[in-house]
Subunit: 460 residues, 2 copies
């Protein structure tokens, strides 16, 4: 877990500001939930591994000694959302479109772009089974990334019912499904050879169904790796949106043949086709890539699943999908839902490495520093600072009647562009000395003109 010093906070707020602005344009409304949830709300929602990564809080009072935990730190923003929707169903609109940008905590091993406290930026739409929802969510996430300056991201997309259909068609025994998907989920990290070994270790390849399903998916992934992720080709322009469309059609066609007659899988394939079609008129156009090996770790997904990738970060910038049964776990009544979560820290890691932050991001603590001539003139300095603050300038006031040289040095170290000074002479003439810290130039200005002069100089 990390501290964010001022320059870090300003970078984070820039990214959060873009995300908020885009999500508001898509009609999403803000929601905030407490950092702490009842422990039962969280347990059992994230799979076995998730349970172990939840930070648990000791019961207070005399129970503290027993080691009993009754609360836990938020692990993601989706389960709290499902609880909220179940809890406030009469207060919320029929279609609840919310965004939520808050930290979550996982007792995970830290890595590049992975921390124990990190911010998720979620959008979700509840209340509709229409694929328009998936399309809107892909569009909004693409819009965010495009506005931040990303042009090389891909939205990988798959469908839980398609995956199930493949496994059922292949005849994998039901008790091997979880092993199959856990192994498959690692393909980005450990590659084809690694997944093959995992299939062997976990006994998946001991069954003919496991071999059939595994080989089928690994073969499809090989085509993807060769074509879609050929970044050089993309940079050269040899791989374009038409190629992506063709590749998507090839993936969908291949699966369709494999799962022939499986109703759930065909429903899933129709969903995927509709999402491709509906994202055409959005910023997600040309970014969506069917990836039959995408599995996603969390256990609550029921339909389309997605992940956004860029080539220079292992893992993803964000992920999401449809989870039509999660609200029902709290209210007993299912509410269809689909959402997407962007990882703030991962976005910032890549943006920092690629130097994507705009140069005009505030780097100084103030527009101008008012210096203090001597102990007797402190009140004068305060009054001047207040005057300038009153017209909206960011004004630092040196806190002590220090040597002037030290005050200038401080302003320079803080990168404050101007220093204002009222000495005895200036005061008697109703003037202020203004020093431009970049040019070193110092000039006297009528006090009543100071604010306007500063404004003009700062806008250059």
């Amino acid at each position: 877990m990390r501290d964010f010093l001022p320059a870090d906070v300003r970078r984070r707020e820039y990214v959060i500001g873009v995300i908020k602005e885009v999500y508001e344009r898509y009609g999403f409304e803000p929601l905030e939930t407490p950092a702490v949830e009842n422990i039962e709300t969280l347990m059992g929602k994230y799979g076995e591994e998730g349970n172990q990564l939840i930070f648990k809080i000791l019961k207070r009072g005399e129970h503290e000694k027993t080691g009993q935990a009754d609360l836990a730190l938020r692990y993601d923003l989706t389960v709290p959302l499902a609880r909220v929707v179940a809890q406030y169903q009469n207060e919320l609109p029929k279609f609840f479109k919310r965004y939520q940008i808050q930290p979550v905590w996982r007792a995970d091993r830290p890595a590049r772009g992975r921390f124990r406290e990190f911010y998720q930026c979620d959008v979700d739409i509840l209340g509709s089974r229409s694929m328009l929802v998936e399309a809107e969510i892909c569009a909004a996430a693409s819009d965010v990334l495009t506005k931040l300056g990303f042009d090389d991201f891909r939205i990988k997309i798959n469908h839980r019912q398609v995956l199930t259909g493949i496994l059922e068609t292949a005849g994998l025994p039901l008790d091997k499904y979880a092993d199959f998907l856990v192994a498959l989920d690692k393909i980005d990290k450990i590659g084809q050879a690694g997944v093959t070994r995992e299939f062997e270790d976990r006994g998946v390849f001991l069954t003919p169904g496991g071999q059939k399903a595994g080989r089928f998916l690994l073969d499809l992934q090989l085509i993807l790796v060769e074509k879609a992720t050929d970044v050089d080709a993309q940079v050269r322009g040899d791989f374009n949106a038409d190629d992506r469309d063709e590749l998507n059609a090839r993936m969908l066609g291949g699966i369709e043949e494999f799962v022939a007659g499986h109703e759930g899988a065909h429903k899933g394939l129709a969903d995927l086709r509709r999402i491709l079609e509906l994202t055409e008129g959005t910023p997600a156009k040309g970014k969506v890539e069917i990836d039959p090996t995408l599995a996603r770790g969390l256990s609550y997904y029921t339909g389309a699943i997605m992940e956004i990738e860029v080539t220079d970060l292992p893992g993803s910038l964000g992920g999401g999908g449809r989870y039509d049964n999660l609200v029902g776990m709290f209210s007993g009544q299912d509410v269809p839902a689909c959402g997407f979560s962007l990882g703030l820290e991962r976005i910032i890691v890549v943006m920092t490495e690629r130097e994507m932050f705009p140069p005009q991001l505030i780097i100084s603590s103030a527009d101008v520093m008012v210096s203090v001539w001597n102990e007797q003139s402190v009140a004068d300095s305060i009054a001047l600072a207040q005057e300038l603050r009153g017209v909206g300038l960011r004004v630092d006031l040196y806190p002590e009647a220090d040597k002037l040289g030290k005050q200038f040095k401080y302003a320079a170290a803080q990168r404050i562009p101007f220093v204002a000074l009222i000495g005895d002479d200036e005061r008697s003439r109703g003037e202020v000395s203004l020093k431009d810290m970049r040019s070193g130039e110092q000039r006297s200005i009528k006090r009543e003109n100071l604010a306007a002069t500063l404004r003009e100089a700062l806008s250059n």
Copy 2:
């Protein structure tokens, strides 16, 4: 702990926005620290009661069963700041002026405006012993409250060295100091009679020194209660800034006489006089009130202490003071420091009760809703929504090809002011139907003019 639905979040963001803007104008820079600190960082910093109110987090892994806690939830923003200043001393400026707006957690009994998770909005200046620091902090907090629309707040101010001076002069035994201050700290809640009883119960009044100090402070407070807090008189204009100056002089004079010859107390009185003088040219002018009975619960204060009160909320809107030794508890090297914390929830409670929120706060989820004519025209609706989003409008897209009546009803319930519609006729003519949900009027507009028409209608 509470969930914040969209309307709540917008109110909170409005207040936070004002606070940030004002603090930035005073040259404060943003800092963020993790929600979770090592348990040793927090324990022993807040007094005995504070220790018990800290939420403790179970050690992970096999230790989970032992009930051992190694982490804890942030209890305030001051101790994490002191840790940061000790930890990053070489990266931070000589005078570190930071603001921090983040939640803290206390296992306290909830009450009106008091929650287990609540936001503190802190400003602190580190590195200087000048009273200019106290003055700037009072000015910034006053500026925030004035901008939010408060005009009746008072900044009560006292000084730890003055309190110690009074107790030493009276001859209270040292082992009764804590009891004395704990009892005195409750005067707002339990009044003169309650504090007298506490003085008796805690054995303070068994000592002649305790009686002397207690009676002296209670007598001064009686004058304050009669004069300064006479709200009716203030509303009638019978009690004005001059009266407050006179009352402050009377308090300071009374104490000065009592502590005659006590060096620490005289230093404290000089500090208080200087703060009164330096706040004259700031938005805190006329708001600062010397209150000799103000004690503040936290144990880390060393100099001036302050609290902001309004008449219709028991307790305070915020508080703070000087704590010159806290950083030294982490780095071994003292750094002078002074800060102030505004309580977001308390401000919001009062602003809600007094209906102080601006009427133009966003209440709808979108500027316009694009409806969906039928399944075949979904792509058209998406394209229209994207067009309008592209020019910065907040656009909701109805997610399904539902009956139009239902779509209009939904927009009305969401208070969305306009609904745009492309039916088959409109499409053939290159037009869009726009319905004004407030007037009920519906008209056809050339598609290329829609954004401009909406912008104009929304600005009215």
